[in-house]
Symmetry: C3
Subunit: 209 residues, 3 copies
């Protein structure tokens, strides 16, 4: 509604969303790479941390702009929720990379690689959704993407479940279990946060129908 009255103001928020989502995808891909071809974990975790800082910067500018903008293209609260939820995903990707390096993990099992793969796919859909947000005329397309993200969240859940079952069923030592449990939990949590973003987006799509 507001967007129709003042069509030019506040459009920059869509740029922030797209830029941040692109950073998040970059980090997710780096994490997936890190897990599928182990080695040199310290340097690679540091690279992901740099991307995370770049994302922080975008979040900070988005929040600052939000408080200076009188007329916003979508609800202020939704803008704030979208940018902070996006940032939660990126934070968790960074935390996961850091833990791998910190815990001196050297070989990663297939469960973690698959979880990271699902994360890349979910974040890819988040990127598509952010691009779709700019033009809310095709709201059905946006809702479809959100449903895709929910599907990945379910897949992440299933993967976590089998990863945990495998982790506890073997004869692994407790310290290894503590480390890998945290690794899986972080990865699945990151996919969960994609669903948080999808929930906000779904709300926006329905509101501006």
């Amino acid at each position: 509604m507001f967007a129709r009255i003042f069509p030019s103001e506040g459009k920059g928020f869509f740029d922030f969303f797209e830029q941040h989502a692109a950073k998040t995808l970059e980090a997710a891909k780096l994490l997936h790479e890190m897990l599928s071809t182990p080695g040199d974990f310290a340097a690679r975790a540091r690279r992901i941390q740099e991307v995370e800082h770049e994302g922080d910067e975008i979040t900070h500018r988005a929040v600052e702009t939000l408080h200076k903008t009188f007329v916003t293209p979508i609800d202020r609260g939704d803008i704030h929720r979208l940018i902070t939820r996006l940032d939660d995903i990126l934070d968790l990707i960074d935390a996961t990379a850091e833990r791998i390096w910190l815990y001196g993990i050297t070989t990663v099992d297939q469960d973690a690689v698959q979880l990271a793969e699902v994360l890349v796919q979910a974040v890819t859909q988040v990127n598509r959704a952010m691009a779709g947000l700019r033009n809310l005329k095709d709201r059905n397309a946006l809702i479809k993407i959100c449903m895709e993200i929910n599907r990945f969240e379910n897949e992440g859940d299933t993967l976590l479940r089998s990863a945990l079952a495998r982790l506890f069923s073997g004869d692994k030592d407790p310290i290894t279990i503590i480390k890998f449990k945290e690794l899986y939990d972080f990865l699945e949590d990151a996919v969960d946060r994609c669903e948080d973003v999808a929930n906000v987006l779904e709300g926006v799509a329905l509101e501006y129908a």
Copy 2:
């Protein structure tokens, strides 16, 4: 205020709240049963997961309706908070049941049973509160129920504390500790989420005084 002007619209939200709270109570009771009479955990966790999916369905329809309804009987944000907080309780009940099965837990101690009992009591009060929400004339009754829920949250806290003390004071092996610690944490977290619901309800009661 709005409800007085357009008394008939949006009343369906109270139905969603009551339906969801009923599902949550059903799941809490199944979990309590599962813990107090162990055995056949896989099938029983699956049954709870079915109830959780039914709850998801109600949540989804409530959110969809919210975005299509122009005039709501109580604040839109409160409606959204209530239905998502209710869903958090149900999610945690499901996650608890799943972990029991996943971790191959076969015997459950009295601490977990008691925590599940407190959860059933807290969710029972949540159900009473949801029924009371429809008629806000007796707001004191509603506030009293919220205080009851807070009391159960404190009881849950005390139970968690003694459960953890017992868990760590014995000579249990670390892997058992990891498993049971998560079980207790999930149960207590579920009771905590009942308090989140009570906090929103208390706000609604005070606002519409």
Copy 3:
């Protein structure tokens, strides 16, 4: 804006914020003392719990007042967020003290002491910020304090990282690892919540510029 029209109403919220922040600082200092000069943990955890109950009382009165006040000096949602986020910090301080006592921890390492020190510093800034909130004319001062809090959050992060590295690199037994990992996580989480408060404050400062 509203505050200018009805300057006298709702000013009591600033009292609640300052009172609660003072309680939180008291608890943070007690926790730091507890960690730096170990001994008599049960009694000292109980003392912190008393302070936490006093904080709860203030939160409860603030929320009640909020729902009875028609005109608020800053946005209702921000008031609610500020008081509940403050309460989250205090809850975590209490939970940390309780765990130390509960887990029968008798000697604490330097990592935990340093984390508690950073927490005291972050909460000290939260107190300064709360005092500054009353007079929003100097909003730059407020934003500067928020940046200070963010700096402490980064410091907490760095400390947690080295604490975890040390915890896992030694030959500590798994149960000790579980206990101390929770202790560090709780402490760092408490510092994180200070940043949540800073984020809300930053928003308020920008909004009322």
